[in-house]
Amino acid sequence: MLARIRNEWECRRIAKLVWDLPKGQLTGTDAQRVKSHVAACHGCREELRFAERAALAAEALGTRTPPSARGWEEIRGALDSAHPRTDSGRTRLGWALSAAAACTLAIALWPRGERSPAARPLEQERMAILAPVRSSGRETPPNIVAGQTVKRAVRSNSGDGSHGSHGQEHPPLRVARTGRLRGEAPAAPRRKTDESMTVRPPVVLISRSSELSAAVDEPSTLVAGTPPDAISSDGIVLVAGSAPAAEALSDPSVSVETSFSYEAGP
Protein backbone atom coordinates (compact mmCIF):
# COMPACT_ATOMS: atom_id res chain seq x y z
CA MET A 1 0.00 0.00 0.00
CA LEU A 2 2.72 2.38 1.09
CA ALA A 3 4.81 1.43 -1.90
CA ARG A 4 1.94 2.15 -4.27
CA ILE A 5 1.39 5.62 -2.80
CA ARG A 6 5.11 6.27 -3.04
CA ASN A 7 5.06 5.20 -6.68
CA GLU A 8 2.14 7.50 -7.46
CA TRP A 9 3.94 10.43 -5.89
CA GLU A 10 7.05 9.63 -7.85
CA CYS A 11 5.01 9.41 -11.07
CA ARG A 12 3.56 12.86 -10.42
CA ARG A 13 6.98 14.33 -9.86
CA ILE A 14 8.37 12.63 -12.92
CA ALA A 15 5.42 13.78 -15.05
CA LYS A 16 6.56 17.35 -14.46
CA LEU A 17 10.11 16.55 -15.51
CA VAL A 18 9.33 14.25 -18.39
CA TRP A 19 8.39 17.11 -20.70
CA ASP A 20 11.71 18.82 -20.22
CA LEU A 21 13.79 15.79 -21.11
CA PRO A 22 13.24 15.86 -24.90
CA LYS A 23 14.04 19.55 -24.91
CA GLY A 24 17.36 18.91 -23.24
CA GLN A 25 16.47 21.08 -20.29
CA LEU A 26 17.17 18.53 -17.58
CA THR A 27 20.47 18.40 -15.78
CA GLY A 28 22.35 15.17 -15.14
CA THR A 29 20.73 14.08 -11.89
CA ASP A 30 17.16 14.83 -12.95
CA ALA A 31 17.68 13.31 -16.36
CA GLN A 32 19.05 10.14 -14.81
CA ARG A 33 16.14 10.01 -12.38
CA VAL A 34 13.59 10.30 -15.18
CA LYS A 35 15.32 7.67 -17.28
CA SER A 36 15.49 5.15 -14.50
CA HIS A 37 11.86 5.76 -13.56
CA VAL A 38 10.44 5.44 -17.08
CA ALA A 39 12.36 2.22 -17.56
CA ALA A 40 10.18 0.67 -14.86
CA CYS A 41 6.93 2.63 -15.27
CA HIS A 42 4.72 2.09 -18.30
CA GLY A 43 2.55 5.18 -17.76
CA CYS A 44 5.48 7.55 -17.51
CA ARG A 45 7.16 5.87 -20.47
CA GLU A 46 4.06 6.67 -22.55
CA GLU A 47 4.12 10.20 -21.25
CA LEU A 48 7.73 10.56 -22.30
CA ARG A 49 7.01 9.14 -25.73
CA PHE A 50 4.25 11.66 -26.25
CA ALA A 51 6.45 14.47 -24.93
CA GLU A 52 9.05 13.50 -27.54
CA ARG A 53 6.43 13.51 -30.27
CA ALA A 54 5.16 16.87 -29.06
CA ALA A 55 8.65 18.35 -29.07
CA LEU A 56 9.20 17.24 -32.67
CA ALA A 57 5.79 18.51 -33.73
CA ALA A 58 6.44 21.84 -32.02
CA GLU A 59 9.64 22.12 -34.00
CA ALA A 60 7.72 21.26 -37.15
CA LEU A 61 5.17 23.96 -36.40
CA GLY A 62 7.99 26.47 -36.40
CA THR A 63 9.07 25.28 -39.83
CA ARG A 64 5.53 25.20 -41.16
CA THR A 65 4.62 28.70 -40.10
CA PRO A 66 4.62 30.57 -43.40
CA PRO A 67 6.85 33.61 -43.68
CA SER A 68 5.21 36.93 -43.06
CA ALA A 69 4.09 38.84 -46.11
CA ARG A 70 4.24 42.11 -44.23
CA GLY A 71 7.28 43.62 -42.67
CA TRP A 72 8.71 46.38 -40.58
CA GLU A 73 8.32 48.98 -43.33
CA GLU A 74 4.56 48.77 -43.06
CA ILE A 75 4.65 49.31 -39.32
CA ARG A 76 7.13 52.09 -39.69
CA GLY A 77 4.90 53.78 -42.22
CA ALA A 78 1.94 53.54 -39.87
CA LEU A 79 3.98 54.88 -36.96
CA ASP A 80 5.42 57.66 -39.08
CA SER A 81 2.01 58.74 -40.24
CA ALA A 82 0.66 58.71 -36.70
CA HIS A 83 3.67 60.40 -35.16
CA PRO A 84 6.22 62.19 -37.27
CA ARG A 85 9.60 60.58 -37.00
CA THR A 86 11.71 61.56 -34.06
CA ASP A 87 15.41 61.60 -33.66
CA SER A 88 16.56 58.64 -31.70
CA GLY A 89 18.02 60.75 -28.93
CA ARG A 90 15.00 62.93 -28.51
CA THR A 91 13.14 62.18 -25.33
CA ARG A 92 9.49 62.51 -24.49
CA LEU A 93 10.38 65.25 -22.04
CA GLY A 94 11.95 67.18 -24.87
CA TRP A 95 8.78 66.90 -26.89
CA ALA A 96 6.64 67.91 -23.95
CA LEU A 97 8.74 71.02 -23.40
CA SER A 98 8.61 71.89 -27.08
CA ALA A 99 4.86 71.46 -27.15
CA ALA A 100 4.39 73.55 -24.05
CA ALA A 101 6.51 76.33 -25.51
CA ALA A 102 4.58 76.22 -28.77
CA CYS A 103 1.25 76.41 -26.92
CA THR A 104 2.42 79.35 -24.83
CA LEU A 105 3.55 81.17 -27.94
CA ALA A 106 0.30 80.45 -29.74
CA ILE A 107 -1.79 81.75 -26.85
CA ALA A 108 0.32 84.88 -26.58
CA LEU A 109 0.11 85.65 -30.29
CA TRP A 110 -3.53 84.62 -30.82
CA PRO A 111 -5.81 87.52 -31.82
CA ARG A 112 -8.36 88.38 -29.21
CA GLY A 113 -11.18 88.92 -31.73
CA GLU A 114 -13.72 86.42 -33.02
CA ARG A 115 -12.12 83.16 -33.93
CA SER A 116 -12.56 81.67 -37.30
CA PRO A 117 -14.92 78.68 -37.45
CA ALA A 118 -12.15 76.44 -38.57
CA ALA A 119 -10.15 77.23 -35.46
CA ARG A 120 -12.92 76.38 -33.05
CA PRO A 121 -12.39 73.15 -31.19
CA LEU A 122 -14.32 70.33 -32.71
CA GLU A 123 -15.73 69.31 -29.38
CA GLN A 124 -17.76 72.47 -29.32
CA GLU A 125 -19.29 71.66 -32.64
CA ARG A 126 -20.81 68.42 -31.66
CA MET A 127 -24.35 69.65 -31.70
CA ALA A 128 -25.41 71.37 -34.81
CA ILE A 129 -28.63 72.75 -36.07
CA LEU A 130 -29.09 72.59 -39.76
CA ALA A 131 -30.50 75.22 -41.92
CA PRO A 132 -30.90 74.87 -45.65
CA VAL A 133 -29.12 77.22 -48.00
CA ARG A 134 -31.52 79.99 -48.85
CA SER A 135 -31.16 82.77 -51.28
CA SER A 136 -33.09 85.30 -49.26
CA GLY A 137 -36.15 85.89 -47.16
CA ARG A 138 -37.75 83.71 -44.58
CA GLU A 139 -39.96 81.60 -46.73
CA THR A 140 -40.55 78.06 -45.71
CA PRO A 141 -37.51 76.12 -46.81
CA PRO A 142 -37.97 73.08 -48.97
CA ASN A 143 -37.65 69.65 -47.52
CA ILE A 144 -34.09 68.62 -47.20
CA VAL A 145 -33.20 65.84 -49.51
CA ALA A 146 -30.17 63.74 -49.93
CA GLY A 147 -27.47 65.43 -51.92
CA GLN A 148 -28.61 68.89 -50.98
CA THR A 149 -26.10 71.33 -49.64
CA VAL A 150 -26.99 72.87 -46.35
CA LYS A 151 -25.54 75.47 -44.16
CA ARG A 152 -25.26 74.89 -40.51
CA ALA A 153 -25.36 77.10 -37.53
CA VAL A 154 -23.20 75.77 -34.80
CA ARG A 155 -24.42 75.91 -31.29
CA SER A 156 -21.81 76.27 -28.65
CA ASN A 157 -21.75 73.86 -25.78
CA SER A 158 -21.55 76.44 -23.07
CA GLY A 159 -22.46 73.97 -20.41
CA ASP A 160 -25.32 76.03 -19.07
CA GLY A 161 -27.83 74.38 -21.32
CA SER A 162 -28.36 77.44 -23.46
CA HIS A 163 -28.73 76.96 -27.16
CA GLY A 164 -27.25 80.13 -28.50
CA SER A 165 -25.94 80.23 -31.99
CA HIS A 166 -22.75 81.78 -33.17
CA GLY A 167 -24.55 83.00 -36.23
CA GLN A 168 -21.44 82.60 -38.34
CA GLU A 169 -20.88 81.29 -41.76
CA HIS A 170 -19.72 77.74 -41.80
CA PRO A 171 -18.71 75.60 -44.67
CA PRO A 172 -21.79 74.04 -46.25
CA LEU A 173 -22.37 70.35 -45.87
CA ARG A 174 -23.90 67.88 -48.20
CA VAL A 175 -26.76 65.84 -46.87
CA ALA A 176 -26.10 62.22 -47.48
CA ARG A 177 -29.43 61.02 -46.28
CA THR A 178 -32.13 62.31 -44.04
CA GLY A 179 -34.37 60.39 -41.80
CA ARG A 180 -35.47 59.49 -38.38
CA LEU A 181 -34.72 56.48 -36.35
CA ARG A 182 -38.06 54.97 -35.56
CA GLY A 183 -38.58 55.07 -31.85
CA GLU A 184 -35.11 56.42 -31.24
CA ALA A 185 -35.46 60.14 -31.73
CA PRO A 186 -36.28 61.95 -28.52
CA ALA A 187 -39.56 63.82 -28.34
CA ALA A 188 -38.01 67.20 -27.92
CA PRO A 189 -40.06 70.39 -28.07
CA ARG A 190 -39.86 72.47 -31.15
CA ARG A 191 -37.52 75.35 -30.89
CA LYS A 192 -36.29 78.22 -32.88
CA THR A 193 -32.99 78.32 -34.61
CA ASP A 194 -31.10 81.45 -35.38
CA GLU A 195 -32.76 81.46 -38.76
CA SER A 196 -36.22 81.53 -37.21
CA MET A 197 -37.12 78.11 -38.19
CA THR A 198 -38.60 75.43 -36.09
CA VAL A 199 -37.08 72.08 -36.52
CA ARG A 200 -38.78 68.84 -35.81
CA PRO A 201 -36.67 66.33 -34.06
CA PRO A 202 -35.27 64.34 -36.90
CA VAL A 203 -32.13 62.43 -37.42
CA VAL A 204 -30.02 63.93 -40.12
CA LEU A 205 -27.17 62.15 -41.71
CA ILE A 206 -24.67 64.40 -43.27
CA SER A 207 -21.74 63.75 -45.50
CA ARG A 208 -18.28 64.03 -44.11
CA SER A 209 -16.79 67.38 -43.64
CA SER A 210 -13.16 67.36 -42.76
CA GLU A 211 -13.82 70.00 -40.17
CA LEU A 212 -16.43 67.87 -38.53
CA SER A 213 -14.70 64.58 -38.90
CA ALA A 214 -14.26 64.25 -35.16
CA ALA A 215 -17.75 65.43 -34.33
CA VAL A 216 -19.12 61.96 -34.50
CA ASP A 217 -17.12 59.07 -33.27
CA GLU A 218 -18.90 55.91 -34.20
CA PRO A 219 -21.38 56.23 -37.01
CA SER A 220 -22.67 52.72 -36.66
CA THR A 221 -23.08 53.03 -32.92
CA LEU A 222 -24.63 56.38 -33.44
CA VAL A 223 -27.21 55.17 -35.87
CA ALA A 224 -27.99 52.10 -33.89
CA GLY A 225 -27.83 53.44 -30.39
CA THR A 226 -27.89 57.24 -30.58
CA PRO A 227 -25.54 57.92 -27.69
CA PRO A 228 -26.56 61.00 -25.75
CA ASP A 229 -23.48 63.01 -26.49
CA ALA A 230 -24.00 62.79 -30.19
CA ILE A 231 -27.64 63.64 -30.51
CA SER A 232 -28.99 67.04 -29.72
CA SER A 233 -32.11 67.78 -27.76
CA ASP A 234 -33.68 68.41 -31.15
CA GLY A 235 -32.86 64.95 -32.22
CA ILE A 236 -30.44 66.17 -34.81
CA VAL A 237 -27.44 64.02 -35.27
CA LEU A 238 -24.37 64.42 -37.32
CA VAL A 239 -22.94 61.41 -39.00
CA ALA A 240 -19.77 61.54 -40.94
CA GLY A 241 -20.58 60.26 -44.39
CA SER A 242 -17.72 57.88 -44.51
CA ALA A 243 -17.79 54.33 -45.71
CA PRO A 244 -18.71 52.93 -42.27
CA ALA A 245 -21.62 55.34 -42.08
CA ALA A 246 -22.80 54.23 -45.49
CA GLU A 247 -22.60 50.66 -44.31
CA ALA A 248 -24.58 51.52 -41.23
CA LEU A 249 -27.25 53.09 -43.40
CA SER A 250 -27.48 50.03 -45.54
CA ASP A 251 -27.88 47.89 -42.46
CA PRO A 252 -31.37 46.42 -42.72
CA SER A 253 -31.65 46.29 -38.95
CA VAL A 254 -31.61 50.06 -38.80
CA SER A 255 -35.00 51.52 -39.40
CA VAL A 256 -34.83 54.88 -41.08
CA GLU A 257 -37.76 56.96 -42.24
CA THR A 258 -36.79 59.12 -45.11
CA SER A 259 -39.11 61.96 -44.31
CA PHE A 260 -37.74 65.16 -42.95
CA SER A 261 -39.15 68.62 -43.04
CA TYR A 262 -38.48 72.11 -41.94
CA GLU A 263 -41.23 74.41 -40.83
CA ALA A 264 -41.25 78.12 -40.82
CA GLY A 265 -41.23 79.62 -37.39
CA PRO A 266 -43.69 82.17 -36.16
Binding site: A54, L56, A60, L61, T63, S68, R76, L79, S88
Partner: protein
Protein backbone atom coordinates in the same frame (compact mmCIF):
# COMPACT_ATOMS: atom_id res chain seq x y z
CA UNK B 1 40.30 22.23 -14.82
CA UNK B 2 38.41 23.86 -11.98
CA UNK B 3 39.69 27.29 -12.98
CA UNK B 4 38.76 26.79 -16.58
CA UNK B 5 35.22 25.85 -15.59
CA UNK B 6 35.01 28.87 -13.32
CA UNK B 7 36.13 31.09 -16.18
CA UNK B 8 33.44 29.59 -18.38
CA UNK B 9 30.77 30.25 -15.79
CA UNK B 10 31.97 33.80 -15.38
CA UNK B 11 31.92 34.32 -19.11
CA UNK B 12 28.34 33.08 -19.31
CA UNK B 13 27.37 35.30 -16.38
CA UNK B 14 28.97 38.30 -18.06
CA UNK B 15 27.19 37.50 -21.30
CA UNK B 16 23.83 37.16 -19.53
CA UNK B 17 24.44 40.36 -17.66
CA UNK B 18 25.31 42.27 -20.83
CA UNK B 19 22.22 40.86 -22.53
CA UNK B 20 20.11 42.02 -19.60
CA UNK B 21 21.63 45.48 -19.78
CA UNK B 22 21.07 45.55 -23.50
CA UNK B 23 17.42 44.58 -23.04
CA UNK B 24 16.98 47.29 -20.44
CA UNK B 25 18.48 49.88 -22.72
CA UNK B 26 16.38 48.69 -25.60
CA UNK B 27 13.20 49.03 -23.58
CA UNK B 28 14.18 52.47 -22.40
CA UNK B 29 14.86 53.54 -25.96
CA UNK B 30 11.52 52.13 -27.08
CA UNK B 31 9.78 54.07 -24.35
CA UNK B 32 11.48 57.21 -25.57
CA UNK B 33 9.95 56.64 -28.99
CA UNK B 34 13.10 55.51 -30.75
CA UNK B 35 12.01 53.80 -33.94
CA UNK B 36 15.35 52.10 -34.40
CA UNK B 37 14.88 50.39 -31.06
CA UNK B 38 11.39 49.39 -32.14
CA UNK B 39 12.84 47.90 -35.26
CA UNK B 40 15.31 45.88 -33.22
CA UNK B 41 12.50 44.54 -31.07
CA UNK B 42 10.49 43.77 -34.18
CA UNK B 43 13.35 41.92 -35.84
CA UNK B 44 13.98 39.90 -32.71
CA UNK B 45 10.40 38.92 -31.90
CA UNK B 46 8.54 39.05 -35.19
CA UNK B 47 8.97 35.39 -36.00
CA UNK B 48 8.09 34.00 -32.53
CA UNK B 49 4.99 36.19 -32.41
CA UNK B 50 3.97 35.05 -35.87
CA UNK B 51 4.51 31.43 -34.91
CA UNK B 52 2.40 31.83 -31.80
CA UNK B 53 -0.40 33.56 -33.73
CA UNK B 54 -0.29 30.89 -36.40
CA UNK B 55 -0.50 28.17 -33.78
CA UNK B 56 -3.49 29.87 -32.22
CA UNK B 57 -5.37 30.85 -35.35
CA UNK B 58 -4.29 28.18 -37.78
CA UNK B 59 -4.52 30.64 -40.64
CA UNK B 60 -1.52 32.32 -42.21
CA UNK B 61 -3.31 35.54 -43.18
CA UNK B 62 -4.93 35.99 -39.80
CA UNK B 63 -1.66 35.27 -38.06
CA UNK B 64 0.12 37.84 -40.19
CA UNK B 65 -2.55 40.44 -39.42
CA UNK B 66 -2.37 39.75 -35.71
CA UNK B 67 1.40 39.90 -35.74
CA UNK B 68 1.41 43.33 -37.35
CA UNK B 69 -1.37 44.51 -35.09
CA UNK B 70 0.55 43.31 -32.05
CA UNK B 71 3.60 45.37 -32.86
CA UNK B 72 1.62 48.41 -33.87
CA UNK B 73 -0.38 48.29 -30.71
CA UNK B 74 2.71 47.72 -28.62
CA UNK B 75 4.57 50.63 -30.12
CA UNK B 76 1.61 52.93 -29.83
CA UNK B 77 1.05 52.01 -26.19
CA UNK B 78 4.69 51.72 -25.20
CA UNK B 79 4.12 54.27 -22.45
CA UNK B 80 1.88 51.74 -20.69
CA UNK B 81 4.55 49.06 -20.76
CA UNK B 82 5.34 47.93 -17.26
CA UNK B 83 9.06 47.39 -17.02
CA UNK B 84 8.63 44.77 -14.32
CA UNK B 85 8.20 42.21 -17.07
CA UNK B 86 10.27 41.69 -20.18
CA UNK B 87 9.19 43.36 -23.37
CA UNK B 88 8.69 40.05 -25.17
CA UNK B 89 6.27 38.77 -22.51
CA UNK B 90 4.35 41.99 -22.93
CA UNK B 91 4.28 41.45 -26.70
CA UNK B 92 2.99 37.93 -26.21
CA UNK B 93 0.31 39.20 -23.85
CA UNK B 94 -0.90 41.65 -26.48
CA UNK B 95 -0.75 38.97 -29.14
CA UNK B 96 -2.65 36.48 -26.96
CA UNK B 97 -5.42 39.01 -26.43
CA UNK B 98 -5.60 39.83 -30.12
CA UNK B 99 -5.77 36.14 -30.98
CA UNK B 100 -8.63 35.67 -28.54
CA UNK B 101 -10.44 38.62 -30.07
CA UNK B 102 -9.91 37.17 -33.51
CA UNK B 103 -11.25 33.80 -32.42
CA UNK B 104 -14.28 35.46 -30.90
CA UNK B 105 -14.87 37.29 -34.15
CA UNK B 106 -14.85 34.02 -35.96
CA UNK B 107 -17.53 32.91 -33.56
CA UNK B 108 -16.36 29.38 -33.51
CA UNK B 109 -13.42 27.34 -32.54
CA UNK B 110 -10.82 27.24 -35.25
CA UNK B 111 -11.34 24.30 -37.48
CA UNK B 112 -8.52 21.97 -37.97
CA UNK B 113 -7.13 22.46 -41.37
CA UNK B 114 -4.76 19.83 -42.44
CA UNK B 115 -4.42 21.69 -45.70
CA UNK B 116 -3.12 24.66 -43.80
CA UNK B 117 -0.88 22.58 -41.60
CA UNK B 118 0.11 20.78 -44.69
CA UNK B 119 3.15 18.65 -44.68
CA UNK B 120 3.59 19.61 -48.31
CA UNK B 121 4.66 23.02 -47.08
CA UNK B 122 7.56 21.63 -45.16
CA UNK B 123 10.89 22.11 -46.80
CA UNK B 124 12.92 18.94 -47.11
CA UNK B 125 14.69 18.26 -43.86
CA UNK B 126 17.83 16.34 -43.12
CA UNK B 127 15.88 13.09 -43.21
CA UNK B 128 16.21 12.10 -46.83
CA UNK B 129 14.30 8.83 -46.60
CA UNK B 130 10.94 9.73 -48.18
CA UNK B 131 8.97 7.05 -46.36
CA UNK B 132 10.34 8.01 -42.97
CA UNK B 133 9.68 11.62 -43.74
CA UNK B 134 6.08 10.97 -44.72
CA UNK B 135 5.52 8.99 -41.55
CA UNK B 136 7.09 11.69 -39.45
CA UNK B 137 4.97 14.34 -41.15
CA UNK B 138 1.82 12.34 -40.53
CA UNK B 139 2.80 12.01 -36.91
CA UNK B 140 3.38 15.75 -36.59
CA UNK B 141 0.06 16.43 -38.28
CA UNK B 142 -1.72 14.31 -35.75
CA UNK B 143 -0.01 15.90 -32.77
CA UNK B 144 -0.68 19.39 -34.09
CA UNK B 145 -4.24 18.50 -34.89
CA UNK B 146 -4.72 17.34 -31.32
CA UNK B 147 -3.27 20.67 -30.20
CA UNK B 148 -5.70 22.57 -32.40
CA UNK B 149 -8.61 20.69 -30.88
CA UNK B 150 -7.80 21.89 -27.37
CA UNK B 151 -9.60 24.80 -25.76
CA UNK B 152 -8.01 28.20 -26.33
CA UNK B 153 -6.70 28.47 -22.77
CA UNK B 154 -4.82 25.21 -22.97
CA UNK B 155 -3.57 25.84 -26.46
CA UNK B 156 -2.05 29.20 -25.64
CA UNK B 157 -0.22 27.75 -22.65
CA UNK B 158 1.16 24.85 -24.63
CA UNK B 159 2.25 27.09 -27.47
CA UNK B 160 4.18 29.31 -25.13
CA UNK B 161 5.81 26.47 -23.24
CA UNK B 162 6.31 23.74 -25.81
CA UNK B 163 6.69 25.75 -28.99
CA UNK B 164 8.19 29.02 -27.79
CA UNK B 165 10.13 27.37 -24.99
CA UNK B 166 9.17 30.00 -22.44
CA UNK B 167 9.90 29.51 -18.76
CA UNK B 168 7.13 29.24 -16.19
CA UNK B 169 8.00 32.71 -14.93
CA UNK B 170 7.67 34.21 -18.37
CA UNK B 171 4.33 32.50 -18.93
CA UNK B 172 3.19 33.79 -15.57
CA UNK B 173 4.01 37.32 -16.75
CA UNK B 174 2.18 36.83 -20.02
CA UNK B 175 -1.05 35.76 -18.39
CA UNK B 176 -0.68 37.69 -15.16
CA UNK B 177 -1.40 34.70 -12.95
CA UNK B 178 0.50 32.86 -10.24
CA UNK B 179 3.29 30.38 -10.83
CA UNK B 180 1.27 27.60 -9.23
CA UNK B 181 -1.62 28.35 -11.55
CA UNK B 182 0.65 28.15 -14.59
CA UNK B 183 2.03 24.79 -13.50
CA UNK B 184 -1.37 23.33 -12.74
CA UNK B 185 -2.94 24.55 -15.96
CA UNK B 186 0.02 23.33 -17.95
CA UNK B 187 -0.20 19.93 -16.35
CA UNK B 188 -3.88 19.66 -17.27
CA UNK B 189 -3.27 21.00 -20.76
CA UNK B 190 -0.61 18.37 -21.39
CA UNK B 191 -2.85 15.62 -20.14
CA UNK B 192 -5.65 16.76 -22.38
CA UNK B 193 -3.32 17.10 -25.35
CA UNK B 194 -2.11 13.58 -24.90
CA UNK B 195 -5.63 12.20 -24.47
CA UNK B 196 -6.80 13.97 -27.61
CA UNK B 197 -3.85 12.66 -29.56
CA UNK B 198 -4.63 9.09 -28.56
CA UNK B 199 -8.29 9.61 -29.47
CA UNK B 200 -7.33 10.85 -32.90
CA UNK B 201 -4.93 8.00 -33.27
CA UNK B 202 -7.73 5.58 -32.59
CA UNK B 203 -6.09 4.31 -29.42
CA UNK B 204 -8.63 5.58 -26.95
CA UNK B 205 -7.21 6.93 -23.74
CA UNK B 206 -3.81 5.68 -22.92
Amino acid sequence: MGDRRKDGVNAVARKMSSLGVHEDRLEARCRAGDLEAFEEVYTRWERPILRYAYGMLNCADDADDVKQETFLKAFRCIHSFDSRCAIHTWLFRICANLCKDRLKQRGRRPQVSLEQVSSAAIPPGPDTDPLRRILADAEHDLVLRALQDLPTGHRELLLLREVQGMSYDEIKDVFGCSLASVKLRLFRARQQWRRRYHQLNGEGEA
